[in-house]
Amino acid sequence: MRLMSAFLALFLLLDGALLYKVQKNIEGLNAGGARVSELTPVPDGAYLKNISLGQASLLADILWLKAIQVIGGRTISPQKAKWLYSAVDAALTLDPKFWYMSEEGGVFLSAACSQYRFSNRIFRKGFDNNPRNWRLPFYLSTNYFLYLKRYKLAAYYMGRAARLPGRPAFVPLLASRLYAQAGDPRYGLELTEAIYENTRNEKIRKALLERMKQLQVEINLDALGKSINTYKSRFGRYPASVRELLAGGFIKAVPVDQLGGKYIINPVTGEVSNTKLPRRLMIYPKGK
């Protein structure tokens, strides 16, 4: 009997070790491939609500916890951003009053994924169900102002945020200046700083910090563009480099690039660009 017990104990120990090894191997075989759970489209929220057996709120939490894992990931591919949108959208259908998801999900889709339309849909859905929350129209407004260049809509939503309870004192001030300063990157930076101050999630704050650096580069590009135009009007040609602008006294110093890139001027077209910012964040339409 004792021998039998000892044998069984030994067997269990060996079997346990073997199971661990096999599981490790399976993990090794799975590594490298796309993780299905992250990329599988999330079914429509209304459908999920029907089959949730009264646990819709719990399902929303589960989806949100999965979404947070994606937000915390290192890289955000367009596929992941799309998944994130569908997850947060479904979670908001399951639990419409969970405005926190709308806020964090929307800011992340905009600041880190540059998916402004997805982000807007998330904000708008959250705002429809939480019409007393000032943050959601505030974020909507910044998306319209900064990225989508719909200044009237931006002003409209900032105005709505300004009228809601609990909004900080700066919101009405922003609302009053928004329309007048349409397209000004300095104002964009100010708005992003305001979002940064109101965001708690560290991952999203990091993305916003990066965005603020990009906006600083935008401000520099804007200022350089103006100097280049002055240069052209005096010499009849575009400068070949930033140094030329500096030598001519058109700028006081070469702007510090927070992204670590360089400012390059195209001597033929006079366009100025930054090596670390291949696409301009703010496109300035001719008629502001």
């Binding site: 029907n50 089959i51 949730s52 057996l53 009264g54 646990q55 819709a56 709120s57 719990l58 929303a60 939490d61 949100w64 916890l65 947070i68 894992q69 639990d95 009053k97 969970f98 926190y100 964090e104 708690r200 999630n201 560290e202």
Partner: protein
């Protein structure tokens, strides 16, 4: 008095049951896990704990109601102890009602213990005591009473395994009756619509008892809604129990 004696006896019997203990253990484990899971999110930690705890209390309550409920009558039949009981001056309705009240008492103790633990965990981790979620717990209890009654109904004419399946199916359907309503609306006029509407009102509408999300978000629940839901649940339970007695009285024990 006889009903009371059977109820107390049933209560003691279930409380000593190993299945009951293991289910309570897992339910408590889930409450603990909710605290762990809530650390994954930033902000709104209390919401995750509240959602998971309330859902856990409900789901494990339903499992207890069904699996213990079907055994109440089923076991007596299986072990032939029913002969001893019905040979005594006890009416069959008293037996059934006693069994039902006994399990209702067990569920009341279960839900009380779980709620105290849930509130304790929540207070320990978030320093919040959302009293309004107790209203959700109240309606969960009413839902459990309905599920228990259905488990007893099925066990009066079917085997324990089949009764469990039926009761579980009724629970699932009870949460999806909204679909029947929508289907009836789409069908337009005619016999099909009338049938669908009849089925919709005939089946228990368990979604009526779900105010978890509302209470978690601190949205006020109107008093008349609460009153109506509780009345609906108790009236439904009375109807199911009446039907159970009707079937049980005609049953021939051989």
């Amino acid at each position: 008095m006889k009903v009371y004696a059977i109820a107390i006896n049933t209560f003691k019997e279930v409380i000593r049951d190993k299945i009951f203990y293991s289910l309570v253990f897992f339910a408590l484990l889930l409450l603990g896990a909710s605290v762990l899971l809530s650390t994954l999110t930033l902000g709104e930690r209390s919401k995750i704990i509240e959602d998971l705890s309330l859902s856990g209390i409900e789901i494990f309550g339903v499992i207890i109601a069904i699996f213990v409920g079907i055994g109440l009558v089923g076991k007596e039949l299986e072990k032939k102890t029913i002969y001893i009981i019905i040979s005594k001056p006890i009416k069959r309705w008293q037996f059934l009602l006693g069994k039902y009240l006994g399990l209702s008492l067990v569920l009341l103790s279960y839900i009380s213990v779980m709620t105290v633990c849930y509130m304790f965990f929540l207070y320990a981790y978030t320093y919040k005591l959302p009293w309004q979620t107790l209203l959700a717990v109240l309606l969960i209890y009413i839902e459990l009473l309905t599920v228990t009654a259905s488990a007893i109904l099925f066990s009066t004419f079917s085997t324990p395994t089949l009764s469990a399946s039926y009761a579980l199916a009724l629970y699932v359907i009870g949460h999806m009756t909204g679909d029947l309503r929508r289907l009836a609306e789409k069908t337009g006029e005619g016999g099909v619509k009338a049938v669908l509407n009849f089925v919709y009102y005939f089946l228990p509408n368990l979604e009526d008892f779900d105010i978890k999300a509302k209470t978690v978000h601190a949205i006020p629940v109107p008093a008349d809604y609460l009153l109506m839901s509780v009345s609906y649940g108790l009236m439904y339970v009375t109807a199911i129990l009446a039907l159970s007695v009707l079937i049980f009285q005609r049953r021939n024990f051989k």
